[in-house]
Symmetry: C2
């Protein structure tokens, strides 16, 4: 009798394990479940993020968003990228990724045109491709998810006006050949012109995306024009260089600096007060919604209609970072 | 001995039921599960869609997208709206919805300003609000998800140029006081002006969003100007009226019509050939991504960062519908 009880107990345990295992497996393998259940992915679905200068901090938050969405949807992700600022290297990386037929590719294009052939090749092979952060608008990619740079320039102009109390000369240090920087500059300049009659943009200079070069340009600028009250940097290296030049200037002028992005050197300059504000992009959103979009595309819904094609464009938004909210960005 | 077997069998069954019940309940109640599991909702989380002229077909596809996302995320939805084209009625409906503290509200604003106070009240009460289709840009709503109307006008202009082979006079019949229609008109007119030197927009008329009135306006227009080769209607009732006027015209002129949206009367006119093309908006996307956005906002992620606020704007895209692909839209 007692022996029989052990046998039953053992069978019981086996059954429990079987049941547990069954449920566990089921939750991992069925891509779409029936009534009342969630839409769910499969760990064998791999989505790849492809960048350039792949090691820089800038991509970390986008990758975090990508990973967060993957965890929610129960799919796998991989991060790849050109190590250098080199379009041919990015094309090679993209070719390698395509050859392994992933479930989707999110790419930040180093060049708005030169990747088109390779991107189109992926689309033609049935791999969903979305662009994030930096677009290739004439490619066949399904969507672009990134900052509205013109709006970012406008917001920077309003912040600059607040900092200089609506009057005085201001300047811009930018990368004049890159589309996103042109748009930031244009949004800034147009807003100052239309909304602040007592302000004037007196110079737009090339900082070459380089800290030292931007420092030299700024030094010359503020020596030649003693009335400059503020400088807007459309990228982070320039912002740091500008702050260095102003700090080194013997006249100790209170020139306000607005920069772009939230890398550590920029945040440090905000902390010490030599940069007043910087523009944070919605990089987490770029990664998060890139994955959500590709997942939707790669998992057939029950009745695909024409108007279910992916949205054309997502403006991921920007925020202004100052001393007051800087701690939220150091945490990244 | 046999009796004991029955007792064990019964206990076994009870245990099985308990286990099943436990798993079932678990899958419904935990909003975020641990490692390797999906982000999942709760049927008690209710998201509400609020429209105006709530009975018209136009909203069906947006509601379908809203419901599809809800099914994937395992949350509940409700559809509410003003029955009339009446801002006060929509405000009342919105107040009632807010009072029941839903998990989120997606609203298509009948007026770009008059709903601000009520929308802001919801946001201040901690209810995520997103706008879709028709924006209230100065409200505190978290995001706008809808058509880029300027781009829709541009696309219409290129299609019109194709239909009239790049030359001749064209006209627009629109609702001149509504922002989305102004943008469609502007996108159309500017594109004709810049890209098609042998075309000219000779008239922009108010069709009052009414079939009969648009028919009369068109009749007068084509009688007064025998050279008009094409008409762009920025909304569907106008499109049908234009087609009627051209069909009734005794000279039987081959005037091309491009309309907007995909209600049945418009599709029927495309089928019979009196409308050449219409612009389909990504209405399913509007509903689908509205719910996805609110769900993300209402379910705290593990480490909310500043740049995880919702995207500002989603351009849900448009498609051109002609005889060739009309069947995909009749299916709705």
């Amino acid at each position: 009798m007692k022996k029989l009880l052990y046998v039953y107990g053992f069978l019981f345990l086996l059954f429990f394990l079987y049941l547990y295992n069954f449920h566990f497996k089921d939750s991992l393998s069925s891509p779409i479940t029936g009534d009342g259940n969630r839409f769910q992915g499969d760990r064998s679905e791999k989505f790849v993020m492809v960048t350039f200068l792949a090691g820089i901090d800038y991509w970390k938050s986008a990758l975090k968003g990508f990973e967060d969405a993957a965890e929610e949807l129960n799919v796998s992700v991989e991060y790849r990228g050109a190590t250098q600022y080199d379009v041919h290297e990015q094309i090679t990386v993209l070719e390698q990724v395509i050859a392994r037929k992933p479930a989707g590719i999110a790419i930040s294009a180093i060049d708005p045109y030169k990747l088109n052939t390779t991107i189109n090749k992926a689309i033609d092979a049935g791999i969903p491709v979305v662009l994030f952060d930096s677009d290739a608008p004439s490619s066949k990619a399904l969507s672009f998810i990134g900052t509205n740079n013109n709006a970012a320039g406008e917001i920077s102009a309003h912040k600059m006006a607040e900092l200089v109390e609506g009057k005085g000369k201001v300047a811009v240090i930018t990368l004049p050949n890159q589309l996103n920087h042109q748009e930031r500059t244009e949004g800034f300049v147009e807003t100052i012109k239309s909304d602040y009659p007592n302000m004037e943009v007196v110079a737009i200079k090339d900082g070459k995306g380089d800290e030292k070069y931007s420092e030299e340009v700024t030094d010359e600028l503020i020596k030649n024009d003693p009335d400059i009250k503020g400088i807007f940097a459309t990228e982070a290296n320039g912002g740091v260089g500008i702050a260095e030049a102003i700090q080194a200037n013997k006249e100790n002028r209170n020139i306000k600096v607005i920069s772009f992005d939230t890398d550590k050197p920029t945040l440090d300059k905000i902390h010490e007060g030599s940069i007043s504000a910087t523009i944070a992009q919605g990089t987490w959103n770029m990664g998060y919604w890139s994955l959500q979009f590709m997942f939707q595309q790669s998992n057939d819904l029950s009745d695909i209609q024409q108007d279910q094609q992916l949205p054309n464009y997502v403006d991921t938004g920007v925020s202004i970072v100052t001393k007051e909210n800087i701690h939220e960005y150091y945490a990244n």
